[in-house]
Amino acid sequence: MKKALVVLAGLLALASVANAQTFVWPQKWTVAKPSEVRRGGTLRASVISDYRTFNPFITAEAGNVPSIISPYGLVRRDPSTGDWIPYMAESFTVSANKLEITFKIRRGMKWSDGRPITADDWITTWRIHTDKAVGSNSYDSFFIDGKPITLQKIDDYTLRISYPKPDATAFAVAAFVPWPAHVFGPVYQREGAEGIKKMWTLNENPDNIVSAGPWLIESYRPGERLVLKRNPAFGEWNKDEAGNPLPYLDRYEIKIVKDTNAQLAEFLAGNIDVLAPSTVDHISQIRQAIQQGRLDATIKVNASPVASSQFMVFNWNKSSDPFKQNLFRSDKFRRAMSHIVNRQAVVDIVYGGLGTPMYTSVYPVLTQWINPRVPKYEYNLQEAAKLLAELGFSKKDREGYLVDNRGRRLEFNLATNAGNAQREQMAKLIVDEAKKVGVKINFSAIDFNTLVGQLLSSGADRPFDAIIIGLSGGDLDWPFGSNVVPCKGNLHMWNKSGQCLDPRETQLDALYSRGRTELEFQKRREIGFQMQQIEAQLLPVIYIAGHNYHPAWNNRLGGEHPDALISAIWGQRQLELTFIKR
């Protein structure tokens, strides 16, 4: 009896250790039950542009190799709620003054080369990212308003992150991906930033690339294919609810296919398993192939909007042309311009019906952040004409364009980047509608870099009237741009004089800072709603519309997200929970 108790106690102790060590991937993230899952097989995907490096400190493009093989950090988001949950940390505590978060690191995690993962790995990674000479793209994320965020090792499995001020996006920073200190540390000590930059180029032997995530590099053929294989060390502490190690797949192959038509052809031929087509033509070809029984696949049309925006912005800094400057600074004028944007026509014509109109800076896909009571200055030419008349433009000249009582014609230039067919179409729609109310818009498509140069120029006199462009890269914690909303921001595109010109800009600037430091989600959302109200009245930029996300997959695959989770933010599946049915 006594012996049995000892064994039982031992077993319990073991179980608690195992629990502390294991991250269980919730059943609600997948449609498949652990019992239906088959292990093994290869998932085949494709990307448009080639990879450039395996080095996590100098990689710059989205969807880079380091972020594929090892995507996670101390915390991650639960796609079913959007909340931050402990991941490589087993728990965390936030200090009373909200300036420190202390993380207990999960014990028993190993790098793919067998070495334990400890606090040192985070410290070294942070040191290298914040070395100016390395030129890491993550550099800026470790600073708030120019003040540094610092990491402190309490012991091997305890890490403290200190923030210069309370920050709503604190966890997004804490979620940075650790890389092995025992690989990068010695080089950094010996050769500094220059040594780091030379590491893990594409010519590196894949066996030397160490990962904490689900994948290891098996082989890479330049411009052609990246083959990843399961990282067994990951499966030791990542399990499904039945206790099976993850990922289920043996391999994950990514073909580099520069042409979207060729990608589609490969998907139709059954040679790649996942695709997110963006044009109506591609979507209908996939649907046709499915209907005619030539392809066994699933496509979710209009699964969600995408996390990017398209908008028209007017230049408030035109000291050389006071007439235009006054016009562009008038919210009545901008409201009139919003009334001539036929967003439904944009969705129908530009996106073939597969798009979503936009009214504020918050991407429509971030549903919980969208203020439903915000006024929308919808397409309404009478209303536009009325507002313009109030501004003194009630007469028309011989060509049918509006003039004020001094005979000055209502006319301005509009530019977008050449080669972006969708933006060019939007511009043409706007030009046509403007003509109906008597506004003359001269449209030109110019080189992208020239456009960006004009848009981001600063001072009292900037060289453009209006531009159509888009932004992407938002945040679920606080969906307002840190360098868009503040008047000194680099992307405060309408007014780059360096100071607020409209009292509502000042208000937005203040609200932005308040929201960013508000840690209570509900309160923060209220501030966000208020900001959207002011944005809608001020209309610093006129939002147009964006396309939608339409994921497709070959039915060889199982383990996609439940429908409610499929969106541009969470994607179609967790690769770790994906398996091959046949």
């Binding site: 290869t42 085949r44 542009s49 080639d50 450039r52 490096t53 080095n55 100098i58 710059a60 493009e61 100016k132 000479a133 030129g135 793209n137 550099y139 800026d140 994320s141 930059k197 180029t201 594409l202 010519n203 098996e218 082989s219 053929r221 330049p222 411009g223 052609e224 294919r225 083959v227 192959e253 073909k255 580099i256 296919v257 520069k258 042409d259 038509n261 060729a262 052809a265 490969e266 139709l268 031929a269 040679n271 192939a289 030539r294 080189d447 992208f448 870099n449 020239t450 960006v452 140069g453 981001l456 462009i469 932004l471 890269g473 741009g481 840190s482 360098n483 868009v484 680099n490 992307l491």
Partner: protein
Amino acid sequence: MTAYILRRILYLIPTFFGATFLAFLIIQMAPGDYLTQLELDPKVTPETIARLRAQFGLDRPVYEQYLLWMNNLLHLNLGYSFAYQAPVLEVIWPRVVNSMVIVIPSTLLLYLVAIPIGVYGAVRQYSLGDRILSFLAYVGLSVPSFFLALIAIYLLLQLKFRTGTLIFPVSGMTSSGFEQMPPLRQLLDIAWHAVVPVLVATANDIAGLSRLMRGQMLEVLGLDYIRTARAKGLSERVVLYKHAFRNAVIPFVATLGGLLPSLISGAGFVEVVMAWPGITPFFLDAIANQDLYVIAGFLTVSLVLLMIGNLISDLLLAWVDPRIRYD
């Protein structure tokens, strides 16, 4: 002859500096630079971008950048790619080798097919065969290769839908699982992938070259010495191949030197459409990103090969054409 070669080599030096400077200048004249894209990233501060500009040396005057680059070049260092953060040669070389897999067979095929077609067209002028070949040549000349590639992909897919098998792959250079194959299977796999791109890449050129050959041959066949040869009672075969063909082919010898730069310059848009990992898609990316030293480095290598190629062409001509003397 030796004096001539030396003189030609001396001429190459100013040409080289002039051409590289011009290339460098044109790339630099394009608005913006490699970091312009990053400026629209809401997460990156202007200070960071300015710092990166300084690190990449993009904040210096153009002539200074050129001199630095030239200095590296004379040490046989093509410079550094911003995007890959690696030496240019290191990132370009594998792509060039991949392109050669298409370019070399396609060049051989071109000469082997186009020249006989041209000769046939000249000897049997206005016959039914000549008319059919002429028609095909005009079609081949007028359809751009990227479109031909799209048509090929479409046909392969239709065949797959009807028969359930892919006769040739739709894109790429190797199959999934290539790394696990034995060497011979790997070779066959690449060959199998190369068939369609090679045919597509060659189609346009065959059309052009065969018309040229036909014209040349017709011109030679109308000359006096051919009439003399026939009057002597030589067999038609000897007249055609020993006398006419040898002289008609001389202009093509001159084009052999030009093949040298085309060896590395890739097979063109076929590579993009059929996802062949060659130099073309890579180079287009470099241009789109303004990856300065990749563009400049690649142009420089092409330029050197072009200069050497031209020299070889001239020497070959002198060797095969007794009417040319370099003294």
